[in-house]
């Protein structure tokens, strides 16, 4: 195991750009501790991101890293994985990047069971562009583009990705940082498409506009509102309103795309008489 997660940081670029108390740092910390426990060589990890606050993460990481275009991290990651299947490809995306503009790539990567780990940093808002609502902004909450409250319903990303065919689906909040790190570790180990939703907090745009208090108060609120999947199963929908269901929702062993594609290569070789 790595002596310190500092080994995975490009320390010359620290401190990072995120606001004081931003949940993204806690998620990134959990991700790096997962990589450290798995003792992955730095050259065997590739972290890919799109655009947004969460997508700034790879800039600080001393792995193979790629900061791509808005919503397309999974598309780039798919290409990287196919070209170099031995790499551990990890996508870091936000709720705006991954659930809105990148939503199509997400569901199709899940459907293909592509061997990519996706960690969605869900802070419920577009933070980088001053707080527009995203597909994960809960109904009724305020945003720069929802001054009277968001009338739209938010996605349940875990249900969406599970239904699309992913092999591993889990959710935790930054208030359960140890649990979150364990889920990311299991996600990286899973050979198919693995998805972890990390529910965090944006104290600057989401917090201020919704009067949720300091970053510390937002952490306490996340903790208070978290309900384990086992406990949630016993509650009715009214009791679950405003709650965040956490836990591992699915661990499957369907063959991953890379495994299936190895079969294609074999069959093509046979057909060519090699």
């Amino acid at each position: 195991m790595a002596k310190s997660i500092d080994e995975y940081l490009r320390t010359q670029f620290m401190p990072h750009i995120w606001c004081p108390g931003c949940g993204h740092g806690i998620v990134l910390n959990a991700l790096l501790r997962a990589v450290a426990r798995l003792d992955l060589p730095k050259d065997q990890v590739c972290v890919v991101s799109g655009i947004g606050c969460a997508s700034r993460a790879p800039g600080y990481l001393d792995f193979n890293t790629l900061h791509t275009t808005h919503g397309r991290a999974i598309a780039f990651a798919t290409g990287i994985k196919l070209a170099n299947p031995d790499l551990h490809v990890i996508v870091v995306t936000g709720d705006g990047d991954g659930a809105a503009i990148g939503g199509n790539h997400l569901i199709h990567a899940a459907r293909r069971n592509m061997g990519v780990t996706t960690v969605m940093f869900n802070n419920s808002i577009y933070g980088m562009t001053n707080g527009q609502y995203s597909p994960l902004t809960p109904s009724g909450m305020f945003a720069a583009t929802a001054p009277y409250g968001n009338v739209e319903r938010n996605f349940d990303m875990c249900e969406l990705v599970r239904a699309s065919g992913a092999n591993y689906v889990a959710r935790a909040t930054v208030a359960q940082a140890r649990q979150l790190s364990t889920y990311i570790e299991r996600a990286i180990e899973n050979p198919g498409f693995a998805f972890v939703e990390a529910v965090g907090s944006c104290p600057t745009y989401f917090g201020r506009r919704n009067k949720l208090g300091s970053s510390l108060q937002m952490l306490e609120t996340l903790k208070k509102n978290s309900v384990t999947a086992a406990a949630a199963a016993k509650l009715d929908p009214a009791e679950l309103r405003g709650k965040i269901i956490i836990g591992e929702f699915y661990r499957g062993d369907a063959p991953g795309y890379i495994e299936l594609y190895d079969g294609v290569i074999e069959r093509a070789k046979e057909a060519a008489g090699k």
Binding site: D6, P15, P20, G21, G25, I26, S215, L216
Partner: protein, 85 residues
């Protein structure tokens, strides 16, 4: 008594990375950390540290490090954490 700056200090805070959010100070179960006048964390009671690493895990800025780690948690405890219990 271990002084905060001594090589034996269990926790180190990198002031240049700390943004003073106060999460480590509030989360420490033993109140080892305090806020300096500028809001950044300082190690006030190093002798009380149990090396639980909560400060390090919860710091969004990679600014807090528990340098003297304690032995790995037993397997049972690790699973309990993983299951959210």
């Amino acid at each position: 008594m271990i002084s905060a700056g001594s090589p034996e200090a269990p926790v180190l805070v990198r002031r240049e990375w700390c943004k003073g959010c106060g999460i480590c100070i509030a989360m420490c179960p033993k109140k080892v950390l305090e806020a300096a006048p500028d809001g950044k964390a300082v190690v006030a009671r190093p002798d009380d540290c149990t090396r639980c690493e909560t400060c390090e895990i919860m710091c969004p800025d990679f600014a807090v490090r528990v340098v003297a780690k304690r032995a790995a948690a037993p397997a049972g405890r690790r699973e309990a954490v993983a299951d959210g219990r």
